[in-house]
């Protein structure tokens, strides 16, 4: 088997990378894929908590790359499905504890046994981000519809482009339709206009996410959750299904079309 490395990154912190990593990892696993997700936010781990697995951590990613344990010993099996495993971040170390070569080596090993290796990137554009980005086959950028988050995403996309990462798509998280309507929040189209990369999903603001995190059950486990429904659609799109965007008419006006419209008198 040769799986894919899917990296979730953003530039800005607190926009929903870990929430997205947890939901997509669990969603893909529940769709029958073998998935391992690695928390690369070393020193600030929380993917284990979002997945409700924090009590099961014995070894972490630093132990693995330092060869203090075998990869198998650091794989924490999910409570709900045999298809999902987590490798937790180290809490007592910092980002300099791992190198990008080590992470590439680890993901190459994991790709042999898993369909998807999902890397939850730390914020920023320094070494922790590079460790998460360099091994990626596909990258999902998460942003909220705020100017500062969108500009940071733009910065990150520029860096990805100069590293020849071409498989890049976008999740817009925490959209609040009421605010968009009032003109107080950037719309999906405003964000796409700046970033011009393919959209893979729009996740609505969901006040239940805080309590889902507290009980360690990501949105995709909750049938009535609107963020869960959005993440399930993203899972289908990752798997290659053509899922129409809810409420949203896609068909982004390409750049060329804008040029040409200009020349049409």
């Amino acid at each position: 088997m040769s799986g894919k490395v899917l990296t979730i990154t953003s530039g800005k912190g607190g926009v929903g990378k870990s929430t997205s990593s947890a939901n997509l990892a669990l969603g893909l696993a529940l769709s029958g894929k073998k998935v391992v997700t690695i928390d690369l936010d070393i020193g600030l781990r929380n993917l284990d908590m979002i997945l409700g697995l924090e009590n099961r951590i014995v070894y972490d990613v630093v132990n693995v790359v330092e060869k203090a344990c075998k990869i198998n010993q650091a794989l924490i099996k999910d409570k709900r499905t045999d298809n999902l495993f987590l490798i937790a971040a180290a809490q007592t170390r910092d980002k300099s504890a791992v190198t990008s070569e080590q992470i590439i080596g680890l993901t190459n090993e994991l790709k042999k046994d898993f369909d998807y290796v999902i890397l939850d990137s730390p914020a920023g554009i320094e070494s922790g981000f590079r460790n998460a980005m360099l091994p990626a086959d596909e990258i999902i950028i998460v942003t909220t519809p705020e100017i500062s988050a969108v500009r940071d995403a733009d910065r990150v996309i520029g860096i990805l482009e100069s590293n020849d990462k071409t498989q890049v798509s976008l999740i817009i998280n925490r959209i609040n339709p009421t605010l968009v309507k009032k003109g107080d929040m950037m719309s999906k189209d405003d964000v796409l206009q700046v970033l011009s990369i393919p959209l893979i999903g729009v996740v609505p603001e969901d006040s239940n996410i805080v309590s889902y995190t507290n009980i360690g059950e990501p949105s995709v486990l909750h049938k009535d959750s609107n963020s869960g429904a959005a993440y399930k659609n993203i899972v289908k799109r990752i798997l290659g299904e053509d899922v129409p965007f809810m409420e949203i008419t896609e068909e982004k006006k390409g750049f060329l079309q804008s040029i040409i419209n200009f020349f049409k008198e």
Binding site: R155, I159, F255
Partner: protein, 222 residues
């Protein structure tokens, strides 16, 4: 010189110019030209330039090229009358500003300039894409942005106060031309925040940087 030629990169990518008048001859010549350069024409913007005589074959030629896996993005003619195609038809007079620069040194950047990126060129700079916030573009000559300009442009870098900046949608926090700089009066407020319905040109007039619509600017020049 042949009656069909592929011109290097024009502002929109590649241009296939056809001067032959007979459709069979056109196809025959296209076949020859394409066999050697088809790979250049994939994944780029390709326009088709036709004359007043052969423009009625626009549809046939586009179909012929489609069958060879070459997509035409637009047709360029002097006058749209009697020319039909399923792609946009552009009249040459509407590409005046850019056509005028033909033959001069111009660097083309295709894609979006992202936050944190910088381009510096000698001569004119054409960006076929958006110039996003917190990016910088410097050209000793003119700057043409075929997209949104939200970053900071410096045209006439090095002291050419005659340089101009053109953009489909102009919203930079600051504009620099030659020795002049203009900045939005209030911090954090864009120079203009209009609906970007018109392309605009920024230039120096009587010691100030002025922004006017492309139409107005053309009239001034004449």
């Amino acid at each position: 010189m042949g009656k069909v030629l592929i011109k290097g990169k024009n502002f929109l990518g590649f241009e296939i110019e056809i001067k032959a008048e007979d459709i069979n001859k056109i196809k025959k010549e296209l076949d020859i030209v394409i066999s050697s350069s088809a790979h250049f024409l994939k994944n780029t913007i390709v326009t088709l330039k036709l004359t007043e005589k052969n423009k009625l074959y626009a549809k046939d030629v586009i179909k012929f090229l489609n069958e060879k896996d070459i997509d035409i993005n637009a047709v360029v003619v002097a006058n749209k009358k009697n020319c039909a195609a399923d792609v946009p038809i552009i009249e040459t007079r509407n590409i005046h500003l850019l056509a005028e620069r033909e033959g001069e040194q111009a660097a083309t950047f295709k894609g979006n300039l992202r936050n944190g990126q910088t381009i510096r060129v000698d001569g004119d700079l054409i960006v076929a894409g958006n110039v996003n916030s917190n990016s910088y573009i410097y050209a000793t000559g003119n700057i043409f942005v075929l997209g949104n300009l939200d970053g900071i442009p410096h045209a006439g870098y090095g002291g050419n106060n005659e340089a101009v900046i053109f953009a489909f949608s102009m919203n930079p926090p600051q504009i620099r031309i030659g020795d002049f700089i203009t900045r939005s009066p209030e911090e954090g407020v864009k120079i203009k925040n209009r609906n970007a319905a018109f392309s605009e040109v920024a230039y120096v007039s009587e010691g100030n940087i002025v922004i006017s619509t492309y139409e107005e600017w053309l009239k001034l020049k004449r």
